[in-house]
Amino acid sequence: MIRLWIIALIFVSSMSLAAQNSYEFDSEAQRESFNRLTAVLRCPMCQNQNIADSDAMIAHDMRRKVHQLLQKGKTEAEIIAYMKARYGDFVYYEPPVTLGTIWLWLIPLIFIACASIIVVKRRKPQVSPDMAEKLARADEILKQDKS
């Protein structure tokens, strides 16, 4: 029984491998570009899957397009720009820095800055002038005792 399962698993996994490898590439570098691009491009139909991972029709079509553009000699940056021109910034897993998105980086930094200011301020030993006077008097008394 277990053996049957293993055979079935091998069959299924080799099928998915076959689906991935159905594209032919001119060079190993091009294959690597393809793998990198399909990993960083997001499927517009799915909520959080890259196009390498998704089985949606649009992901199939985008993989085919990426392959086609690579064969035409386009660079990775050009292909990302090509997809962004059609599906917007959503399609790329690295958001651009704009006035709207800069807060993704700034808010944590502002939070850290504010928090450290508060922590540093609180740590200051609070010696009131009143207390300083009392300490001085205590010192005097101690000195008198000793002598």
Partner: protein, 201 residues
């Protein structure tokens, strides 16, 4: 003085965060900003679905306000909206063009013959009504990709100069037509009629 400041700042922060999160409740994560709106319809050269010898380019869209309907027989919502689209065509003379693409037809190793696709389309249109002036067959789904289509049905309102003026994801029903697409369609056809009249004088 210092104490009131300590109270006001957290309260303001809380209100800002609450407002931000509240607006997120009603936003649709699937809704993407259309990139094509305001730009000319992408160049294409595609055959007629029913008469593959006939070829269309983007020039076929110019001269009249057109609504492009991206659809396929495999799409249930497309069949549901078909009677209403037909009604719009018959009562208001709206020009619908179909941009047809087939889901089962893998361009690299096709499993369906064109004849079968045509048969399925004819069957469906005879059952639900045919709103289309004609259907453009997006064989490789390239034009859909250029338009930023993610599924079906999707609609594009094209003005007389062939510029995309609206991208609507989802079906057209009475509510959508009355509130969103209809006003845009009528404004475009009215505007263009006026400007061409003005040019004629």
């Amino acid at each position: 003085m210092k104490k009131s400041w300590l109270v006001i700042v957290p309260v303001i922060l809380f209100i800002l965060v609450a407002a931000f999160l509240y607006s997120g409740l009603s936003s649709d994560p699937r809704q993407l900003d259309s990139q094509i709106t305001g730009r000319p319809f992408p160049e294409f050269s595609l055959p007629d679905l029913m008469e593959p010898d006939k070829n269309y380019t983007q020039a076929a869209l110019e001269g009249e306000v057109t609504i492009i309907n991206v659809w396929g027989v495999w799409c249930v919502t497309c069949a549901v909206e078909m009677p209403y689209l037909t009604h719009l065509k018959e009562t208001q003379g709206v020009r619908f063009l179909g941009l047809y693409f087939d889901q089962d037809l893998d361009p690299d190793n096709g499993t369906k013959t064109l004849n079968r696709v045509q048969q399925e389309v004819t069957d469906l249109l005879s059952r639900y009504g045919n709103p289309y002036a004609f259907n453009i067959f997006d064989v490789y789904r390239d034009t859909s990709l250029d338009l930023g289509v993610t599924g079906a049905p999707e609609h594009f309102v094209i003005d007389r100069e062939g510029v995309v003026r609206m991208h609507h994801v989802g079906d057209i029903n009475e509510r959508v037509w009355e509130n969103k697409i209809g006003p845009m369609y009528h404004r475009l056809s009215g505007q263009n009629a006026q400007s061409s009249e003005g040019a004629g004088r």
